[in-house]
C-alpha cells in the first residue's frame, strides 16, 4: 500500500522516475542508432552487445515502473510472488518458440520456398512454383543433411507460375483493376 512514503518523499520519487525513465529511453535510442551506424559513419556496435544493452535497459524500466510507480515495493511478499513468479513461465515460451522459428527458416531454405512469406509484386508474377518443389523434390531435398543456402533466385529460369500462390493470383487482378478504375 501507499503511505509508506511521506507526501514529500513521494513527490521526489515521481521526479526521479521521470528523469530515470527519460534518460534510459534516450540511452536505448542512442545505443540503437550508434549500434547500427547512424551516428558515427562506419561505426557499429557488436550485435550481441547492442541487444544486451537494449534488453537490460528495458527490463530495468519495467522493474522501475512495477516497483515504484505501481508500488509493488510496498506489497506483502505473497502478493509480489503470486504476480511476478508466473511470468517466469514465459522463459520456456521464449526458448521453445524462437527455436521453432529458426527451424521454420531452415525448412524454408531447404525447399527454397521464400514466396510463402515474401509476397510478390502484384503486377508481374513469374515466380517459381512452391507446389512443384514439394511434389517433385529437387536434388537438394533428397540430401537432408545439406541445407541449401537461402536464395531468391527465381523468376528467370523457372516459370511454373500461376499455380503456386493462389491467394495472390486471386487478389491481384482485382487490385490492378481497382487502381485503374480510380485513375480513369
Amino acid at each position: 500500500m501507499g503511505g509508506h512514503l511521506s507526501y514529500e518523499e513521494g513527490k521526489k520519487v515521481v521526479v526521479k522516475g521521470l528523469i530515470i525513465l527519460a534518460i534510459v529511453t534516450i540511452a536505448e535510442v542512442i545505443v540503437a542508432l550508434l549500434g547500427k551506424g547512424y551516428l558515427i559513419k562506419g561505426f557499429h556496435l557488436p550485435v550481441w552487445l547492442m541487444y544486451f544493452l537494449m534488453i537490460s535497459m528495458s527490463l530495468y524500466k519495467a522493474y522501475f515502473i512495477v516497483y515504484d510507480f505501481m508500488h509493488m515495493r510496498y506489497e506483502v511478499p505473497g502478493l509480489v510472488k503470486s504476480v511476478l513468479m508466473p511470468t517466469l513461465l514465459l522463459t520456456w515460451a521464449l526458448i521453445a518458440f524462437f527455436t521453432e522459428g529458426k527451424t521454420w527458416k531452415e525448412w524454408r531454405a531447404r525447399s527454397k520456398d521464400t514466396n510463402l512469406y515474401i509476397s510478390n509484386i502484384p503486377v508481374e508474377k513469374q515466380e517459381k512454383s512452391s507446389l512443384h518443389n514439394e511434389i517433385h523434390p529437387g536434388v537438394e531435398s533428397t540430401t537432408p543433411g545439406q541445407h541449401a543456402p537461402v536464395e531468391v533466385k527465381d523468376a528467370q529460369n523457372e516459370s511454373h507460375g500461376a499455380s503456386d500462390n493462389k491467394t495472390d493470383a486471386h487478389s491481384e487482378p482485382k487490385e490492378v483493376k481497382h487502381a485503374e478504375e480510380k485513375s480513369h
Binding site: G3, L18, L21, E28, S58, E75, V76, A179, E180
Partner: protein, 279 residues
C-alpha cells in the same frame, strides 16, 4: 456498506474483510484482482510479441525498424526513431502524472486528483494522436497494410539499375540486409530493378507480409488498451470530482486501481518499443 468494509484497511470490522478474518495479501479484493488481470494481460501481450519474434526468426530477411519508422510530421524523413521516442516520452509523462493523482488521493485532495487525472487523460489522448499519425503515414503514404508490406530488405549485395530519382539513383549500391521501400505510382507497385553480384537482373520484392500484420495488430491492441484506459480515466475522474470516492473514505482506492492499469499500459509499451522499434 460492503464496499466500505472491503476497502477500508483501518476498519475495525475485520470479519467483513473478504468475509474472512483478514484480507489476503493485505490488499483489497479489487486491487488484488486488478493485479491478476494485469498478469493475464501481460501473458496476452507476451504471446503476441513472442509470435513476432518467432516469425522474424523464421524469415531470412526482415525490414530494419530504423528504416521503417523514420518519418516525422511536416514531411521530414530519414530521422530514425525520433517520432517514436517522442511517443514514448508522452506515455511516460502521463504515467508520472498518474502517480501524482494517486498521491493526492491518499491525502484526500479532491482538486489535486482531478487535476492530475486530467493531465493523464491529455497525455493518453496525445499518445493516441501520435499513433494515429504514424498509422496514417504507414497506410496512406507508404502503402503498408495487413496484406502488403512494401518494406523489404535485400538478401544479396547489388547495384540499382534504375533509380526513382529521389532517394535512390541508378548506380547506387546496396548490401545484404539493407532495407528498401517499394513505392507505388498511379496505384501500381513500382519496384526498382537491380543487378546482383552474380550479374543477374532482378526487381525488388515486397517484404515479409507478417511484418505489416504484426505491426498493426500488436500496436493496435496496445492502442486499444490506451483508448479504453482513457475512457476509464475519464469516468473515474468525473466520479472523483462528484465526491463519491471521498465518501468511501478509502484513500481514493479507485484512482489507485486505474493507476495500476495505466502504468501497465506504459509497461507494455516499454516492450513494444523494444521489440518493434529498437531490436
Amino acid at each position: 456498506m460492503a464496499d466500505h468494509a472491503i476497502h477500508n484497511h483501518d476498519s475495525h470490522d475485520n470479519s467483513r474483510l473478504w468475509d474472512g478474518a483478514k484480507e489476503p495479501f493485505k490488499a483489497s479484493y479489487g486491487k488484488l484482482m486488478m493485479w491478476y488481470f494485469l498478469l493475464s494481460d501481460a501473458f496476452t501481450f507476451a504471446g503476441f510479441l513472442i509470435a513476432y519474434g518467432t516469425l522474424r526468426f523464421s524469415s531470412p530477411a526482415w525490414p530494419v525498424p530504423d528504416f521503417v519508422f523514420s518519418s516525422l510530421p511536416g514531411d521530414i524523413h530519414h530521422k530514425p526513431l525520433i517520432f517514436v521516442t517522442i511517443m514514448t516520452f508522452v506515455l511516460i509523462a502521463s504515467s508520472v502524472t498518474m502517480v501524482r493523482a494517486v498521491q493526492e488521493g491518499h491525502r484526500y485532495n479532491k482538486k489535486g486528483v482531478v487535476f492530475w487525472m486530467f493531465l493523464t487523460i491529455i497525455g493518453g489522448l496525445s499518445f493516441l494522436g501520435c499513433q494515429a499519425w504514424e498509422w496514417t503515414t504507414l497506410i496512406g503514404k507508404e502503402h503498408m497494410t495487413i496484406h502488403n508490406n512494401p518494406f523489404g530488405s535485400h538478401t544479396e549485395n547489388g547495384v540499382y539499375l534504375e533509380g526513382d530519382g529521389h532517394d535512390i539513383k541508378a548506380g547506387d549500391q546496396f548490401k545484404v540486409g539493407d532495407s528498401y521501400l517499394v513505392h507505388k505510382h498511379d496505384g501500381h507497385w513500382a519496384p526498382l530493378s537491380y543487378k546482383n553480384e552474380a550479374g543477374a537482373t532482378k526487381t525488388q520484392q515486397l517484404g515479409p507480409k507478417a511484418f505489416g500484420a504484426l505491426f498493426f495488430f500488436i500496436t493496435g491492441f496496445h492502442g486499444f488498451h490506451v483508448f479504453s484506459g482513457v475512457v476509464f480515466l475519464l469516468i473515474i475522474m468525473i466520479n472523483a470530482w462528484s465526491g463519491i470516492y471521498a465518501k468511501r473514505n478509502n484513500k481514493y482506492e479507485m484512482v489507485e486501481k486505474i493507476g495500476l492499469y495505466w502504468h501497465f499500459v506504459d509497461l507494455v509499451w516499454v516492450f513494444v518499443f523494444l521489440v518493434f522499434y529498437l531490436l
